[in-house]
Subunit: 464 residues, 2 copies
């Protein structure tokens, strides 16, 4: 085929994706036969075996793995959170819960009992409780409030609910996430300075519901480590209210999560060799690890399948790449970034030149376009009109990404590109039990793979 | 507030929609306390009462109804479709169904039985069977194939499966729908000419699954009326294959659907009076009736709630309209268009001038933009950049719509605008039992209402 990215080429890519797509079926296999893929877990290794064999069946020029040591944290068997509140029990008896504005409460078990079980999940990296912790609860909505209450001595011996909610008026939900996620990542170490015994973190989600969303948390080295759990948004609202209404509110937590020694894992790659400059690489992919809730379908099974499918499509339509096109499934993005770090280090060590890298880690939703390095923005002007009829013509300044970022450290000229799908539903399922195959739409996923295949061909044509 | 549509105004509209939105909650009430709203049904009338009271609670300048006689077709209590196939039973016994490529079959009851019940729904407007019909099946994929087989006498006494599938490579799913829907609407009369005794129509859907999608069908006046049912796409694939493999394949159908005398119903309206030219009207809305499958959540509860919410938002942000802004819920779009026809006729009769009309009937998905009359396209150039940061900046030539189209007949100058949300998931649920509130995303719905509110203000400012 003519090495030209024109409207006929774009059409052929989309036809292949939509009429003969493989990514949806493969994502279904990954989600249903492997499931979640937390770094260091047996399941992640099972997934790597599945993926390597699957990629080999397509007879790309090569399929290989790159060894990476990854951290190994386990949720453990005991993961319990309860609250007891006489005020809440009285309200249940009086059937006066109507003032809680989230309808999700209707699903909560609303019998007056001594202890109410709370839908909650421990955050990744948390220490366990070493027995049961029981304490009162203080709810805070900002770092300022945390500091103010802490300095007044009001957090001593308490559990702290870090309850800053997503600003729902931000159109891009990733911006809302970015504004709240520091409380999840660093909140425990902030609270422990004031004598808190544990933290609960409001789930990072746009929805008001009963699903708890996990995610990574970290401890400041110099400080004591206290356990940290995520509670569902609807529960955060409830606990916030009860913490003000009931001085007798008590929370009990019991966890036996633990960190084990690092384990050998791998990045997985498949590539089509370049026909003109095979020594130069365009890497594109997502992360293969996931949290241990749900099936890692959108996060980031979708990104891995996008990359595999883009490579397959370009081969299927007969595209002959100038440079080597490499689909990469990075390991350990969620809690360590070891895969991406090792990938970039190894490339620098061996002198392998990356001219561009593209990341898909925003789910398998309808494409809107791409974020690209500012240096590459002018080049994209001539391709915008090719992508617009497919709904993927929004080209923005951007291009960062956790897994491709490290390449920049060793090579300031690498062009970085981020795939941008519609963001509205992503945090409904992100890191939660609802991130399952059933919540991925076939056409939306396929359109993403097609847009990425076109973008890779553009990079291949435009870069030297 | 300054009568100017600028970035601050757009921001205020989106803030109101996303931080203080009412449409999602109201759609939930409509779907869960009323449910489906087939024209002429008691449920539709219940919905009109609910809606009128709901709108009145917002103290708009006026809320009123317009009487409309609507058709009344009922599905009846008996709706059965079975097939019997010794070939299929043998395959089940040999566990050799793997060659059916849709995984949905795994959900089918796969015991070897004399008669297999088929997930199917009768099409709106169909006659009943007057007892049970049993016949062989012929599957056709185009009008040409239908004519060819018909002329060869091969359809005589048969049921015909009209099995043209959505062209999945069309990016806009409405284009795919448009290319297939004639077989649903007119297929029975085409088939009866060749002696067919009934038709089965492949569901109008992008998905391969077990949900049957209903919709309107019509009979040519001069021809005999034969019954028509929709079968799920996965079932259409199965029957297509069996019709070729098993000469003994037999289909049995029994229906007691019926058409009753017309019934009095109504269009429902709420409006904010214009402050400069109250005699000139901008109408915007969707259709209040739905099919009797699911809850009419996306089709078109979403459009009705968009329009109500747009009116509410403009009032809430203090926008003073020059012209009268009227939210209209047209009745009977699905099977008669009586509401829209009467609305336009009455406007012409009373000399009420409509300067613009906007329709939302493509579901409550993430907005992409608007289709507008070509005469208004140049005006939109100056507003495109205001809508783009909200993802709604795609402005296309268009603007038709079933419910606003009749206004053009009496007034060639009326500017017609169609709301365009993302189309990928619409036909997954359209006219099926899956068109329920749970499949509507809160933020996606709210973003649509905000985009429509902005568009209405643009029309109000730009038109005289």
């Amino acid at each position: 085929m003519a090495a030209q990215v024109d409207s006929a080429f774009v059409r052929s890519v989309y036809d292949e994706a939509l009429l003969n797509g493989h990514c949806y079926k493969r994502l279904g296999e990954l989600c249903k036969t492997v499931g979640s893929r937390l770094s260091g877990s047996d399941n992640a290794e099972k997934g790597i075996r599945w993926g390597t064999a699957m990629l080999k069946s397509y007879r790309f020029d090569s399929v290989f793995t790159q060894p990476v040591m990854v951290p190994r944290w386990e949720r453990g068997e005991v993961e319990e959170l309860y609250f007891s509140s006489s005020v809440f029990n009285k309200k249940i008896k009086n059937q006066s819960l109507a003032n809680y504005d989230c309808e999700a409460f209707e699903e909560l078990p609303l019998k007056a009992v001594k202890q109410h079980k709370i839908p909650a999940v421990v955050l990744g990296g948390s220490v366990g409780t070493n027995g049961k912790i029981t304490a009162g609860l203080v709810s805070v909505h900002s770092d300022k409030e945390l500091d103010s209450l802490g300095k007044a001595g009001l957090l001593k011996g308490k559990m702290v609910l870090l309850n800053r909610a997503f600003p729902e008026n931000l159109i891009n939900t990733f911006a809302a996430y970015g504004s709240c996620v520091p409380q999840r990542v660093n909140g425990a170490s902030k609270a422990v300075k004031y004598g808190a015994v544990a933290v609960l973190v409001r789930s990072m989600s746009n929805r008001c519901d009963l699903h708890a969303h996990t995610g990574v948390m970290m401890y400041a080295d110099s400080l004591r480590k206290i356990p940290a759990m995520a509670v569902a948004t609807a529960v955060a609202n409830l606990l916030d209210q009860l913490s003000r209404e009931d001085a007798g509110l008590r929370i009990s937590m019991q966890l036996n999560c633990r960190t084990l020694p690092d384990r050998l894992s791998a990045n997985v790659m498949a590539q089509s060799n370049g026909t003109k400059a095979p020594e130069k690489v365009i890497a594109f992919g997502g992360h293969f690890d996931s949290w241990d809730q749900g099936e890692g379908a959108h996060d980031d099974g979708a990104g891995c399948m996008h990359a595999f499918e883009a490579l397959r499509i370009l081969k299927a339509v007969g595209y002959k790449p100038k440079h080597t096109l490499r689909c990469v499934w990075w390991i350990n993005e969620e809690n360590g970034l070891r895969g991406a770090t090792e990938y970039a280090r190894k490339a620098a060590e061996t002198g392998e030149k990356h001219i561009a890298a593209l990341e898909s880690d925003r789910g398998g939703f309808t494409p809107r376009g791409f974020g690209v390095d500012s240096a590459f923005l002018p080049v994209m002007n001539k391709y915008k009109s090719l992508l617009e009829p497919y709904g993927a013509g929004t080209i923005e300044k951007g291009g960062g990404g956790a897994d491709i970022g490290p390449l920049r450290k060793f090579n300031s000229n690498v062009v970085l590109v981020g795939f941008i799908p519609d963001s509205q539903r992503y945090f409904d399922v992100h890191h939660a039990e609802t991130d399952v195959f059933e919540n991925v739409n076939k056409r939306e996923l396929e359109l993403g793979a097609a847009a990425i295949a076109v973008m890779i061909a553009i990079l291949d044509q435009e870069l030297e």
